[in-house]
Structures are given as C-alpha cells and as structure tokens.
C-alpha cells in the first residue's frame, strides 16, 4: 500500500451514473413486465369498460339525450377513471417489492433516491396512453367523435395527471410500512369520493350545495372538464387551462411527497 493512491482508487468501482440515466434505467425496468405481457394492461381496463358498457346505456336512457351526446360527455370521464384506477393502485407493485425485498436491493444500488420514485411515476405514462387509446377507439363505433388536436392535448393532461397520481400511490406504499391492508383501505377510501365528486358519472350541478363545494376543491374535476372540452374540439376553452393547472399541481405535489418518502425509505 502506497500513500500516493487515494482511497477512491483502491477499489475498482463502476462509473457514476447521471440522474437522467438513473431515471431511464428505472423506467426501463418498470416497463419490462408490461412489455413482456401486454395483456396485463387489459386488467385495469375491465372496470372502466364495464362502466362504459353498462352505466353508459343507463345514462342514455335516463337523460333522453342522443347516444352521441351522452358518449361525448361520458367517455372523457371513463378516461379519467382509467387513470384513477390504473395509477392509483400502482403503488401496490412497489409495496410488493418492499415486502419481497427487491426494493431494498435497489436502495443499495448507486441510484439516486428520487430517480427511484420519478422513474416509477414516469413509467405510468406508457400503460395509461395505451389504455386511453383503447377506450377512445372502443367508443368511436358508437358515435364518439374525436378531434385529433384535442385528443393529443387531452392525453398530455391525462399523462401529467397519471404521473402525479401514480407518485401519490407510491407515496402511500412507502408510508404504510408493509401493511398491505392499510394501503388498500386508504386507496378505496380516497378513490371513490374523488371519482364521484369529479362529476364523472353524474353531473355535480344537480347535487346539494356541500357537494358542489367539495367538487370545487377536487382537482380531478378540473382535469375531467378539460378532457370534455378537448374531446369536443374546444381547445381554447378556459377549462383546458384549468385542467392543465390541476394536473400539474397533482404532479408536483405527488413527486415532492413521493421523493421525500423514498429518501426516508430504509
């Protein structure tokens, strides 16, 4: 041992990786199971498609509105529902990794903690876009019309929302410390009020006053209104801006909380 060798050179180590590389590595890892088995995407589509197929006709029957108009109102809601269900439960994958032990392995790897969270959240975009397109395409033969620029902007807002909501789901997985029942309890408790108070299934305008107040502070309602405006081709609607802001807020809040949770992970 000579004194001229600095400690860092004594043991060979792989080259340091950048934050962007770390995020890309995590995204790649998280996407592989889906790419290997794309049919798993259908799983989280089952519930929303049932709503479309079974609740949709009831909606048409009770409102006396034409099918096309009802679909134009209802399908954006189904898209938001897909995002809620799909990304809301994604934390269970992390929870499984935490309980199995593979999460611990990634904590010992030279990856930045925030990359572990952000990579997982960004990955949500891919299944969400695929699912969103499936829902839209399923609805088209029944008279649902799409404006292409509206679709593109609509999917961008949906993606932003999915990243944020996914990050919140991961935050929950980190917070429950291995108690799976707690994860699902919070998940169910939060999901349905958010869903109903967004005006996804029935308009909130006809609800009692307290409900309107609750709906006004539900960011998902703004995302939904933006989607409705966009699919109607109304790109200049103020609702679009509202949805963009709401989705961005959810993304920022989700990533901040999630990254803090991941930094504390042991």
């Amino acid at each position: 041992m000579t004194d001229t060798i600095s400690p860092s050179e004594k043991f060979i180590a792989p080259k340091p990786t950048s934050f962007v590389t770390d995020v890309a590595s995590v995204v790649a890892r998280e996407l592989r199971p889906t790419l290997r088995d794309p049919f798993s995407l259908i799983f989280s589509l089952v519930q929303p498609l049932f709503f479309l197929g079974l609740f949709g006709p009831l909606l048409v029957a009770t409102t006396d509105a034409p099918v096309e108009a009802t679909l134009q109102w209802f399908v954006p809601g189904i898209l938001v529902m897909v995002a809620l269900f799909g990304t809301g439960s994604t934390g269970s994958n992390l929870l499984d990794d935490i309980m199995v032990g593979s999460h611990e392995r990634t904590l010992v790897a030279p990856l930045s903690r925030s990359a572990l969270l952000i990579g997982r959240a960004l990955k949500e975009v891919v299944p969400l876009m695929a699912q969103g397109l499936i829902v839209v395409l399923v609805a088209v033969p029944f008279g649902f019309t799409i404006s292409i620029p509206g679709l593109i902007v609509g999917l961008i807002i949906l993606a932003l929302f999915g990243i944020g909501f996914g990050a919140l789901s991961y935050s929950l997985a980190l917070a429950v410390e291995g108690r799976e029942w707690m994860f699902w309890l919070v998940h169910q408790t939060v999901l349905f009020p958010l869903l109903i108070l967004s005006g996804m299934l029935l308009p909130i305008d006809d609800g009692p006053g307290w409900m309107k107040v609750a709906a006004a502070i539900n960011p998902i309602g703004y995302v939904l209104e933006a989607e409705r405006a966009l699919f109607a081709g109304d790109l200049a609607s103020p609702a679009v801006l509202g949805g963009l802001v709401a989705a961005s807020v959810i993304t920022i809040v989700g990533l901040v909380i999630g990254t803090r949770g991941m930094r504390r992970a042991r």
């Binding site: 041992m1 060979i12 392995r105 010992v108």
Partner: protein
Amino acid sequence: MSYIESKVGLMSTETMITARGLRKTFPAKGGPVEAVRGVDLDVEAGELVAFLGPNGAGKSTTLRMLTTLLPPSAGEAEVAGHSIAREPGEVRRRIGYIGQRSSASNSQRVRDELRSQGAFYGLGRRETRDRIDELLESLELVAVATRQVQSLSGGQRRRLDIALGLIHAPALLFLDEPSTGLDPHSRANLWQHILELRDRTGTTIFLTTHYLDEADQLAERVMVMDHGEIIADGTATALKRGLAGDTVTLGFETGEDARAAAVQIGGEASGQAVTFASDAGEHAVPQLLRQLDSAGLRAESAEYRRPTLDDVFLSLTGRSLREEGAAHGTIPDAAERPAVPTA
C-alpha cells in the same frame, strides 16, 4: 496460527471495512432498544468473515449500517475506502449486497432483472450482456433465464440474488443470512458458489449467519455477536481452542481400571471411562496412551471431541446457540441475563 498472527502476515493488504463505535438505537414501546452497542471491527481485503449470533443479536442491523441502508445512531465506518455517512453513493458503487429476503421482483423475468441491475450500476449494454451470460452460467441459471422470478424454486431464487449482487463484480460482498430457508442440498450448493467466487476473484466476503455449521465451514474468521456487541473474534479453530479446549475420553474394561487411570493422568473417572481436558486432543491421545501403557493400564477405546462453535458461544454467554430459548431453563446463568432484544 491465531487470527492476530495471521493478521500481522496480511499487513500489506488494504483495509476493506473499518468501524468504530457503531451504535444503533431503535425507538420502541417501553423505551428505546439498543440493537447495536458499540461495534469496532476491521476487515482486510480478501477476508471471508462471518457474523455469528442468535436472532436479534444485532448482526443484520450492523450489516445494514455498513451497507448504507441504515444511518448509525453513533459511531462511524469506512467501507471500501469511503465513509458510510458522508459518501454513501461511493460506498454503494463499490459493494455488493445480498439481503436476507429476495433481491428480485416477482413480476420480473430473471434476465430482465439482471439487465436492470447492470444499468443501475452504470454498466454498458454489451458489458452487462457478457456479465449476465457469465453469471447465469456459473450460478446454473441458464435454463430459467426467461422465467418469471415468482416461478423459481427457493434455491434458484437465492442464486439469482447472488447473481444480482455480483453484476458489477464488487470487491466486497455482503450477505445477510444467505442460506436461511434453504434445504440442505441448496445450502451446500450455495456455499460452494460462494467459495468458488472467493477462490476465483479474491472477493472480500462478509456474511451474517445464525447457523453454527455455516460459520464453521464457510468462514475463515468468525465474529461472535450477542446483545449488540462483538464478544469474540478469531478463526473458528482459534476460538474453539482458546475458549473450550478438546475433551479426550478413554474407555476401560473395568471401573477399577478407569479410576486407576484417572489417578495416573489426572482426568475424571465416571463408570468405565475417563475424561480429560486438553488444548489439542490429537496430540494428547497418543501421549496419554503411552503414559498409561508404561503404568500397565490398557485403554480399550480412545476418542476426542473438538468443541463446536456452540461450545464457544455457551462458554461466552451461558446460552446455547443451537437451542436458543431451550437452554434458558437448563443453564442457571442464563436466568440472570436480560432477554435478547429483537431487532
């Protein structure tokens, strides 16, 4: 050669792990639990060290501090040349870690998980591929490379954990209870892989175990841990010699002969046998037999028993490691000891 002597011989090598005063206290109901209470240790490059102790002795907690998973409550450590507190990233790049539980995610395929691991450590695409092929081959996982992790057997899963821990060919490998839950065949197979790796690459290996035979057969140096402290440190042979000594048992035709022999050699007679404590049984037996021969006494049988690491643990703590808990009632000393904290 004792551990101290062998260490002098290795003075020219580099220190892989240095820890001073490592402590970990966990908050708990009924007051904080001191899981690790001031651990000092030095491990040189190339050593194969085992932390031996009962469950809850603080082995895993110490390992988790050394691998940057847990911040210590007090004390400091340098691992692979870097401080665990100030440069955890540098430490992580240089070490491999195989945790107590599974390292691979259930939903992933074997090869995919290895690819991700390569990317996590910044290996190039080709480098990763070559490395994966090599590891799958040497760990006998080629046949399951495209299988989903959840379909693997316990032994296959453990070998995959090792492959994941070795993807970047670290100079220092930590293994936490590597063979827990494996059947005897898979365990033997795992040990063989660990020893092969050691022989081939000279990797420094630091493992924890509560299996006596694992520490005895696998490790060159054993650190016995109990109640959050290292209570003994040396080669298994040196520990056994220093603390317990061998027991020589000679059998005689009659009790009378046995008693006469006991007087002659200074042992203890019971029935037709004499037991005799010795530092080195293999040297004592022929010497005793010659001594008895010249006194006109004929031993019918001779055997000596090497103490096990369990005897070492017993003489250090008053408890048996083999039957943790069961020994509490039979050893008077054990009743006075505090309960083993679980951590």
